[in-house]
């Protein structure tokens, strides 16, 4: 290898090393803090009366159009949260009659949307909420990566936002208050607290009333655990939940690939330089034989 080739190889190596510095070294989707526990909400669908007070309170807290909660025709279809309603209550016909169930962002412990975001516009706050910020570029990869299809995008705006429940992170919960929906619930179906306390409380309700509740806390283990926890008197499939999501946190599906990245970035150029060196040596030999 002559000096020039050496310098070339060195140059390529340096650029690669610099680039690998920019590449993901570790997957840090959940920012669990040692001092704080994730805050959570327990939904008791057995207690929910379908009054939609939570919808109204949510709309007020987030400056969204206030829904007419006396209108029961909305129950005729199953609704998803939208850009104008961050939480919705649906009615389901089940084995045990009508059951109402509130839906909103689940605030996963390790959210897919946070791992997906390339500018950290989606963030998992130490207190538990998953929030959205305006440095977002609108790529909608969070929507693709959300197991629950929660982030909603404003398709009709030149300056669209991603909208979803933020657990009232800005409004009240930072000062120790409760999310608007929890405060508004007249039936005591929503309980706010730390995730650990609420799992205990959910288990207590299930054990104390085994005939009523199914023995499952939705959100305890689903996709690695969520901050919204549900107990129910009917199987969760019957009230609009996907029960095939598994217990693996979504960011973990990409860790294998991301760990391979620095390896490829280092080994691949080394291999290519080696091959290139071998094939170029043939040229050098030929040139020498030709008497250059």
């Amino acid at each position: 290898m002559n000096r020039r080739n050496f310098l070339k190889a060195l140059g390529a190596g340096t650029v690669t090393t610099v680039a690998s510095g920019l590449k993901p070294q570790s997957v840090k989707a959940s920012e669990t803090s040692a001092t704080k526990e994730f805050m959570a909400v327990l939904v008791d669908t057995h207690r929910c009366i379908g009054c939609r007070s939570c919808e109204e309170a949510c709309a007020q807290a987030h400056d969204l159009p206030i829904p007419d909660i006396t209108d029961t025709s909305v129950f005729e279809t199953t609704r998803d949260p939208s850009t104008t309603a961050l939480t919705v209550v649906n009615r389901f016909e089940t084995d045990k009659g009508e059951v109402f169930c509130k839906r909103q962002c689940m605030h996963c412990n390790q959210p897919g949307c946070v791992a997906a975001c390339l500018v950290k516009a989606m963030q998992k706050r130490p207190e538990g909420p998953v929030t959205w910020d305006t440095n977002c570029m609108g790529c909608r990869y969070c929507m693709v990566s959300c197991a629950f299809d929660i982030p909603k995008f404003e398709y009709d705006s030149w300056n669209p936002r991603i909208l979803k429940c933020n657990l009232c992170w800005d409004e009240s919960t930072r000062d120790g208050g409760q999310p608007a929906c929890v405060e508004a619930c007249p039936a005591d179906a929503l309980t706010f607290g730390t995730r650990r306390e609420l799992i205990d409380e959910a288990n207590r309700r299930i054990y104390c009333d085994e005939d009523t509740y199914v023995r499952h806390i939705y959100g305890e283990r689903e996709v690695g655990g969520t901050s919204w926890l549900y107990v129910s008197a009917v199987p969760f499939e019957q009230i609009g939940f996907r029960t095939d999501l598994g217990t693996t946190a979504y960011p973990e599906f990409t860790t294998g690939f991301l760990y391979a990245v620095p390896v490829v970035l280092v080994l691949w150029p080394a291999f290519l330089m080696g091959v290139s060196h071998l094939t170029h040596r043939g040229d050098d030999v030929r040139r020498r034989e030709a008497g250059e």
Binding site: V15, K23, S26, S82, L118, K120, A147, F257
Partner: protein, 410 residues
């Protein structure tokens, strides 16, 4: 003395501007069928894009909360980048393995790859809701290091630079910049090594984007091996495009080529066909392994199973076999048909992940079907790329031999 230097410099500058002005003028007939079709499409596309930036994405697309990604991602980016894979495969063969046989097509391929990234990955900008924030992951308005998309974004940028360096000697030859050309061609090997590494990672990275869409992509397609499948398929996707594009370029730009070039090109096509067949066999083998491990025999009996078989057998195995036969019996026409089938297979494969088998459980009225304006703007992007490609090929030594002074400098 200094006054004299200034006047020569000024004269040089004026000559350069005259040269540029002359080069910017169109060449050849203006009223060709291609121009008649493409110009209105490009103009309409440009209008629609402006309209979209004023009124939002929903105004010209059928994207929805259920289907956040449509054909601008599934076709423009996913498929466009796969088709651009020919550049890294051929630079590996020519600059690393030093196989001189493929040297004549290297510039056209790299140029095509470069323009594909500029236009198809560039089409990403019209898909972004807040495109002015596209610089955030670059300037560090928060680095989302755990995101696959962060990796893909950086790789797109760096790879565009690498490909520009690879093609830049042709620009220098066109402008007659002798010394700069020498510096630029000295950078080629480094750019090639860097470019191949980046391509390996972002071709697979595009597949890795879908890993978190578990549960949304039909089990026949979803597997943890998506990144490897995307990488393997980008090899023959790129090579089939090189075959297809070469057969058109050689007809359209035949004035730039002599008889020897045409004979040589036949040999090149046969070599590429063999490479395609090999890569496709490896890919098919991977697909079979993934299928067996996934244990989805029961899924095959459904309509989705047939669609899957159509993609894997009809558009991978059959063209693979056609490439082999075409190479053995030296039947160029058969190879061309195989390359078209292969490209169709890649389009369908990438669309399956992003659009068709994505949320396969949603019935049709909810399931995304592209709006005609999305297709229109996609066509406009493709035609714009072809226009730029043609403009460059007509002026720079891409297909034709470089000027004599350039080969002396080697």
């Amino acid at each position: 003395m200094s006054e004299q230097a200034a006047t020569t410099e000024l004269r040089g500058f004026r000559e350069f501007m005259d040269f540029l002005r002359a080069e910017l003028k169109p060449r050849g007939k203006l009223l060709t069928p291609f121009n008649v079709i493409s110009v209105p499409i490009i103009v309409l596309g440009a209008i629609l894009i402006v309209y979209r930036f004023i009124t939002g994405l929903g105004s010209i697309t059928n994207l929805s909360q259920e289907f956040p990604w449509g054909i601008w991602i599934g076709f423009d980016v996913m498929t466009g980048v796969a088709f651009a894979g020919g550049a890294y495969v051929l630079t590996f063969v020519v600059y690393i393995l030093r196989n001189e046989k493929y040297h004549p097509i290297i510039r056209a391929t790299v140029l095509n790859g470069f323009l594909a990234y500029v236009f198809y990955a560039g089409a990403l900008v019209i898909d972004l809701g807040r495109p002015w924030n596209i610089i955030n992951p670059i300037i560090g308005n928060k680095f989302g290091l755990s995101s696959v998309l962060f990796l893909v974004a950086w790789h797109f940028l760096l790879y565009m630079i690498a490909e520009f360096i690879e093609i830049s000697p042709a620009f220098a030859e066109w402008l007659g910049l002798r010394r700069i050309r020498k510096i630029l061609s000295g950078l080629t090997l480094g750019a090639v090594i860097f470019g191949i590494t980046l391509s390996t990672l972002h071709q697979s990275g595009l597949g890795a984007l879908f890993l978190m869409a578990k549960g949304k992509i039909h089990p026949l397609w979803y597997t943890e091996f998506i990144p490897i499948l995307f990488f393997a398929s980008s090899i023959f996707a790129g090579l089939s495009l090189v075959i297809f594009e070469g057969s058109i370029s050689h007809r359209v730009f035949s004035s730039q080529l002599d008889h020897d070039d045409h004979i040589r090109h036949q040999e090149i096509v046969i070599g590429l066909a063999k490479a395609c067949a090999g890569a496709m066999f490896a890919y098919f083998f991977l697909k079979v392994l993934v299928f067996i491990h996934g244990q989805h025999w029961d899924q095959l009996a459904s309509g989705w199973g047939l669609w899957y078989l159509f993609e894997v057998v009809g558009l991978v195995v059959i063209p693979c076999f056609m490439f082999l036969r075409g190479a053995r019996h030296r039947r160029i026409a058969l190879i061309k048909i195989a390359s078209i089938l292969t490209m169709l297979g890649i389009i369908i494969n990438r669309l399956n992940y992003s659009v068709i088998a994505f949320k396969w459980y949603e019935p049709l009225p909810i399931h995304y079907i592209p709006h005609w304006m999305e297709i229109e703007t996609t066509l406009a992007v493709v035609f714009a790329e072809i226009w730029v490609f043609r403009w460059i090929v007509n002026r720079m030594p891409i297909l034709r031999q470089p000027p004599a002074w350039a080969s002396d400098d080697h």
